[in-house]
């Protein structure tokens, strides 16, 4: 399969934008400049980038507690995202939400929230709205392997299949749910098979291969637009950092709960390095090309951090705003 230069460049830029901003949070988290819980998605960028690259602006996505990548990939503003993590008034949720509540209706990001599984049925609803209105919009629900324990997923799978709703369920299987390895929360590692008894199409993908994710997502979204949804995509991946915060394990304890050899093995499968290799060897990119892309993003990210730091916190007089819509 060949890919347009534009597509390859976009995928690369999106993944880099996510990675560089994520890594930019590490320092300010450690020095307590950022205090809200931050779940970094370093290592998982290919899924957000691949899936969102096939979506239109008016398609919908919902995320979870680890959604910086989803937000950026769907076209959310970098400045607004960084400012929200810093809990500033200029953040996409005006400092009311923090890292776990990235919401921007203008790019179709209808929400992210830390209640595990909490947004799955809302994505179902967004898909239902497209179905009722008869538009060709699609909704994507991003959730982790941990969310497969919640009953709401089964309920949503059933209803989506029943009405053939245009929804893509994207499970980012990073093999851990906080301190528990997947084998401690499920008997079968084959998460994608959850969809099959409901009559849905389910696939497992290498979630660190952005081109594979792109291809599967493209197919899935097309099926949805043609009324042949829903589709369930399980994307295998690994977070390079801790569950919350920057630790390579679990914040606060420095007790590694994941085997060092396993972490090392997965670092070798870094999705960005992998795409770089492809771009250089088969994509017709030179290393200068890649450096140029990186330089632009470096500037963008550092501008976003400056913007966030210079932005005011919400004024306490405005505490009671936004409880009810007028």
């Amino acid at each position: 399969m060949t890919y347009s230069r534009k597509l390859l460049e976009d995928l690369y830029a999106t993944m880099l934008r996510i990675r560089i901003s994520e890594e930019g949070f590490v320092e300010p988290i450690l020095n307590r400049e950022i205090r809200c819980p931050v779940h970094l998605c370093s290592g998982e960028e290919a899924i957000a980038a691949g899936v969102c690259s096939v979506l239109e602006k008016d398609d919908y996505i919902f995320g979870n507690h680890r959604s910086h990548g989803h937000y950026l990939a769907k076209g959310g503003g970098l400045k607004e995202m960084v400012a929200e993590v810093f809990c500033r008034e200029t953040g996409c949720s005006r400092g009311r939400g923090g890292s776990m509540h990235l919401i921007d209706p203008s790019c179709g990001m209808l929400g992210s929230a830390p209640i595990v599984g909490g947004t799955i049925s809302m994505a179902l609803g967004a898909a239902m709205s497209a179905w009722v209105r008869g538009t060709r919009q699609v909704a994507v629900s991003f959730f982790g392997d941990g969310a497969t324990g919640e009953g709401t997923l089964a309920e949503s799978l059933n209803f989506a299949a029943l009405k053939k709703l245009p929804i893509v369920f994207v499970c980012e299987n990073n093999l851990y749910s906080t301190h528990l390895c997947i084998d401690e929360i499920r008997v079968s590692r084959n998460i994608y098979k959850m969809a099959l008894p409901f009559g849905e199409k389910g696939h497992r993908i290498d979630g660190n291969d952005v081109l594979k994710v792109y291809e599967h997502a493209k197919q899935a979204v097309e099926l949805c637009r043609n009324g042949e949804g829903p589709v369930f995509l399980e994307c295998l991946t690994y977070r390079q950092r801790g569950h919350v915060g920057p630790d390579d394990n679990v914040q606060g304890t420095h007790t590694d709960i994941r085997p060092a050899a396993e972490i090392k093995r997965w670092l070798k499968k870094d999705p960005i390095k992998r795409l770089e290799k492809y771009l250089l060897q088969q994509g017709g990119f030179s290393s200068q090309d890649l450096q140029q892309i990186r330089a632009v993003i470096d500037t963008e990210v550092s501008e976003a951090f400056d913007f966030a730091r210079q932005s005011p916190f919400p004024a306490k007089e405005e505490l009671s705003n936004y409880v009810f819509a007028q």
Binding site: M100, G149, E150, T178, T253
Partner: protein, 324 residues
């Protein structure tokens, strides 16, 4: 768990070295993987399982590291556990403890901060326990486990830093018996859970200005030891209720209503509530600082009562009423 083999602990993070403030540390090694179970993220099923196990002869404790997550379990708690004994005509009790932790602050935002005790206290058939000290946490947990009813046991994470000598021996503190944390004659402050600490700070400051506050820690929100509050009101005639939940239809509202219903003749001033405003929790630290009530808010409330100004229209009437 040593004394009673039917007691078991099931919940998220019970084997983790960092979840839930280490409350379950060492239990797995001591009691084994059948009685100490770390669970998938499945609050509804796990809480329902605790209820079912209770019906089948166990005394399970099911733990939710943030009580926000317990909302997935609202059906087994409210529809099932709370009603079961009544629905079966008193034949089969539900001796389950549902343990939830309030874990707010730190810019965690609306879904990681909710203090939902009033919601559960509203439901007939549930008891709601809220310890304010380490020694109470032990005695009340023992009582909750021994109780034959579903008990919602709610910890405030902000109390987890408290240090206090906890008696080694086995003891329980009866559900429904409050305690006076500080003696005083000028005003009664009923403070729930974490707010006991803020009330104690407030009382110190008030004492410097010659105002002696009596602090009552009800320990259990339901059943509520109103007799203790009533006795205190007979002495002080003034009531401030400090609760870390929301104002409307909250625990403070309930205590204020009981005061009006049962102790009206003692009251020399209106009852004041120090609670959260009726808003979701904001993330930003500037807004959090304005959102969470602290000792200064209690001091302000007490000052309003002991230095009455004439705008409180009803005040003079109440004073004369009390004097009769």
């Amino acid at each position: 768990m040593e004394r009673d083999e039917t007691v078991m602990l099931i919940g998220q993070g019970v084997k983790s070295p960092w979840y839930v403030g280490n409350t379950a540390q060492g239990l797995l090694a001591r009691f084994g993987a059948r009685r100490v179970i770390d669970t998938p993220v499945s609050e509804n099923a796990m809480t329902g399982a605790a209820v079912g196990a209770a019906l089948a002869g166990m005394r399970p404790i099911v733990e939710h590291p943030r009580m926000d997550f317990m909302l997935y379990a609202i059906d087994p708690i409210v529809n099932e556990a709370a009603n079961w004994f009544y629905m079966n005509g008193g034949k089969l009790p539900v001796p389950a403890v549902i343990w939830g932790v309030i874990n707010r602050g730190g810019e965690q935002g609306a879904q990681h901060s909710q203090a939902l005790h009033a919601l559960f206290a509203h439901i007939p058939g549930l008891k709601v326990v809220m310890p304010a000290t380490p020694a109470d946490a032990k005695g009340l947990m023992v009582a909750a486990v021994q109780d034959n009813n579903p008990v919602v046991f709610i910890d405030d994470r902000w109390l987890y830093g408290l240090e206090e000598v906890v008696p080694e021996e086995f003891y329980s503190i009866p559900l429904g018996k409050g305690v006076i944390r500080r003696q005083g004659s000028d005003v009664t402050i009923v403070a729930v859970s974490y707010m006991v600490r803020e009330a104690l700070k407030a009382a110190e400051e008030l004492a410097q200005h010659g105002i002696e506050a009596e602090i009552i820690d009800p320990r259990t929100v339901k059943p509520l030891d109103f007799d203790l509050i009533h006795k205190s009101l007979q002495k002080t005639g003034r009531l401030v209720v400090a609760d870390g939940g929301w104002k409307t239809c909250g625990v403070a509202a309930e205590i204020a209503a009981l005061a009006a219903e049962k102790a009206f003749s003692c009251l020399r001033a209106p009852v004041l509530r120090v609670t959260l405003p009726d808003l979701p929790a904001p993330a930003s630290r500037t807004l959090e600082a304005a959102y969470y009530p602290v000792s200064a808010d209690i001091v302000t409330a007490v000052n309003r009562l002991v230095k009455p100004c004439h705008e409180e229209g009803m005040l003079l009437h109440r004073v004369s009423y009390a004097a009769q």
